[in-house]
Symmetry: C2
Subunit: 293 residues, 2 copies
């Protein structure tokens, strides 16, 4: 199977399971349920979910369980986007070219839709048919990646530096928490469904934080080097807002060189540990590095 | 041991464990962590937590585990109050005589503090040292009581009827979800720590929804019959806002008679099932009925 076929397979299985999970958790006779579905089923690359599924398969684990865990990660990611877009946070009217949740509905409904998604993510894991050890491991990984030692702390840091001038060290700390921690949780949840050893967890944690940072650096570079047609969203907004990013701290080509080096490093480690079985994850990393949007 | 001594014992053990849980989950070097602590450690009757602990002891279960589960319930209750007080929801500046979370901090911090508390509640359960069955049962009970089949749906209904005229049936549905479902979760989590049978769960579910409704009816009556000195908060606000409550649908004395009958009914069932072991829960119910604030 080619990389593209594998990716399409994962995505199809994920979207099917997401719909089933919506039917379990987000009743359509509730406006809040509708708002949560509106945001959750709006597509996207689903990188976190794909990581959960691919890491499970790397260890020949239980892919059905991993797919439900992957839905939980996407629900948490979606909750964070809905709350991030609210007027008291980033105040964004659009998300993926569609009105953001509080614009399509209203603020109170969007607030509750985010709350409902975060809560339901844990219920989805707890009601997955797999071992209790796998479920509790996934719940711990997800809550650690989400909370004040992870994503929510990253959102706090991001706000705190909004009007300050973060150093490169600050920037790495923001991204490690804001995006890295949930990406690591995605990976760890896949490993829980795959009965991973401590060594697997350690190796793939390095990979997770690495791929998260590469993703962020490329994001920052695309914001200054792309046209808005290529990117599908306004460009140059970071620089306009006086925001410090990897592409303002360094020349874009210099930042890309950092990303390439980091990517080589994490992919080499993965190949050494798992050989050909790591091919899918390595190609995923390469494509995130060379993407144009 | 008298009822009062038992209550004081539970409360002391709860507050100690809550502080330990804060040290695990809510770092003080985070502003969001501080805001979450500010609201979580602000006291209150802790009825939900006491129910978790007392229901566990009714079945001679693992009280240490139940106390951590009780902390998780209080964290979810606190998250719901913080988000409920936000400007886009009830826009309340005060909570228990102190500035509400978004007034003491700011809106974005309060939003994230609520998110962090909801998330951490599940981590607290998942990291409790007890059986995997008890932990997963508690996680399921809590997420069901919190989500769109429980509290969050109740908040949605409450908003939807804010400018309408709910019937008694609507009112019962709002309260069953908005407060009843989390009170039931508190009870069920205590039962998880007590290895309850299906029969125990069924009997105590009736008790939980009953005590929740009695509590709400008494609340509504006190709002029209008390002085603000007795209640420690402004009275008559429901009637002023044109809000339909049990005390506006019925005469206050008629509403109290409904509450008394319901209370007798649930306490009789409990006494028949558990005899003297149910004394604490029965006294708790009586006191919630006869309270003056």
């Amino acid at each position: 199977m080619t990389y593209q076929e594998q990716y399409a397979n994962y995505l199809a299985q994920l979207e099917d399971t997401l719909k089933a999970v919506c039917d379990e958790q987000l009743p359509v006779d509730s406006k809040v349920g509708q708002a949560a579905r509106y945001s959750l089923l709006a597509g996207g690359k689903r990188i976190r979910a794909i990581l959960t599924m691919a890491c499970c398969e790397l260890l020949q684990g239980d892919l059905q369980a991993a797919t439900r865990f992957a839905c939980a990660v996407e629900m948490v990611h979606c909750f964070s986007l809905i709350h991030d877009d609210l007027p008291c946070m980033d105040d964004d009217d659009y998300r993926r070219g569609k009105p953001s949740c509080h614009k399509a509905y209203d603020e109170a409904t969007a607030l509750l839709a985010g709350d409902a998604l975060l809560n339901a993510a844990f219920e989805v894991i707890a009601t997955t048919s797999t071992s209790d050890t796998a479920k509790l491991g996934a719940i711990r990984a997800l809550s650690q990646g989400t909370g004040l030692q992870g994503m929510i702390y990253g959102q706090e840091l991001d706000m705190a530096f909004e009007h300050g001038l973060p150093t490169e060290e600050d920037l790495r700390k923001i991204h490690r928490n804001k995006t890295g921690a949930l990406i690591n949780a995605s990976v760890q949840m896949g490993l829980c469904a795959g009965n991973a050893s401590e060594q697997d967890k350690r190796i793939l944690q390095e990979f997770a934080y690495g791929i998260g940072l590469v993703f962020q650096i490329v994001d920052d570079v695309l914001d200054v080097t792309s046209t808005s047609e290529e990117l599908g969203k306004p460009v140059g907004s970071d620089a306009e807002n006086g925001k410090v990013t990897f592409a303002t701290l360094y020349q874009p080509e210099q930042a890309m060189e950092m990303a390439r080096q980091l990517n080589n490093q994490i992919c080499t480690v993965l190949h050494q540990a798992y050989g050909q079985r790591a091919d899918f994850l390595i190609q995923l990393a390469e494509l995130l590095l060379s993407r144009k949007h």
